[in-house]
Symmetry: C2
Subunit: 272 residues, 2 copies
Amino acid sequence: MNFRQKLNFIVVKNSSLLCVGLDSDIEKIPEHLQKEHYPQFSFNKVIIDATHDLVCAYKPNIAFYEAGGLSGIKQLFKTCEYIKTNYPDVVLIVDAKRADIGTTNVGYVRFIFDELGADAVTLHPYLGQEALQPFLEREDKMCIVLCRTSNPGAGEFQDLMVGDEPLYLHVARRVSKEWNKKDNCMLVVGATYPEELAKIRAIVGDMTLLVPGVGAQGGDVEKTIKAGKNSKGAGMIINSSRGIIFASNGEDFAQKARSEAERLQMEINKYR
Amino acid sequence: MNFRQKLNFIVVKNSSLLCVGLDSDIEKIPEHLQKEHYPQFSFNKVIIDATHDLVCAYKPNIAFYEAGGLSGIKQLFKTCEYIKTNYPDVVLIVDAKRADIGTTNVGYVRFIFDELGADAVTLHPYLGQEALQPFLEREDKMCIVLCRTSNPGAGEFQDLMVGDEPLYLHVARRVSKEWNKKDNCMLVVGATYPEELAKIRAIVGDMTLLVPGVGAQGGDVEKTIKAGKNSKGAGMIINSSRGIIFASNGEDFAQKARSEAERLQMEINKYR
């Protein structure tokens, strides 16, 4: 089963476009877990068990694990393994934001798709299609290319006018029309920019978009769905990280994470 | 001692602008090392011992270590530790090509600067200065931003015209004039594009450039130095990876790597 089939199945099964971002910052996880041997993994396990029937995907961001050196990276491996073993229907996106020149990317492909077993990876566009070929060749996986990011300063380069359109629309056009030969490309578009999201949707047809930035970053769910959904009322994976996993930092963190995931799942479905 | 002082010292001490890229692909290291418990680290140790007095910097690319999963990443840690312990004067650049939104970059900063102990890191520009602030705040370290990369398809976005200049020159201008407030920014410019290198030099003043692409990728040393040197006959760190470390794959790999490093060091100095 390739990424697209896997995503379509879980979106229907769990009636959800919600992705939970496992940005499990060691400094923010509940105090009673800090004494565990693998505190980030222990935390993730509980969050995953509490939310797996409400989501279509999990998205650990590598930075929060690399911060802890080898021990942190080991906890990323254990987290990926846990998802694949216990909830094999749920899509696993590794948010690694990688991209190097061609031959070097072979190493990243092995790490992310084969070692970690991810279904999808996030990628920087700056080096171009030719460089990313080792990723793009993997028909079974998904390449999610940064297009319009959710950060306040995203426009510094992304909004530069190239002819009569900004760079991010040029990226959207290239990726959707040229890079996507194996139907294995998506784009990252921040929920914090609904107008830009609508312009991207107008270019890319029914392509699926990964949309971070609702929740802690302040993106509005109704505006996001209305601007970003495709002709089938789907075509989006909507990510919330801190807003769900750190909904509480007490002993009730799992219940609070579940409540918040459920609330967001339903809010998303309301506007589809 | 910050990066700049460290670099100036070693460039004079070793009379070298050469950086050896430790792209120690497990499949390419000599067969007699494959049986070692840590083959990549064993290989790197020998290469480093054989070349440390000929270089100003070492640059391991993370992809070649992540390809081996946890064991590979452990060998990256051991390699960085070995350089810092035995050759503390030599600059350590970790070629990680990272960039995420602001708070997330804190994790990468910890991993690369504090856990691995790198003096410098390579970064993607696409998310802008605001996102990269956690890197840019580190006055003791160096942020090396991708500008014009060495790969054949680099121009897909980098050559797009923004007003009357291509995107890569716009990146060069922003990084050198706006991002470099703490004098801790450099740019990556491929040796495979000497004309572009000259245009970048004209914009950035005496800023140091990291220049990959001589050796296996085919960049010409004379053209590269003439196009890229600054007003002091320096201002470049010139990287060769495969051309040096895989000069031989037999038992004589260390001597061959040393000969090739020495030849390239001298060729670079000839044209400065």
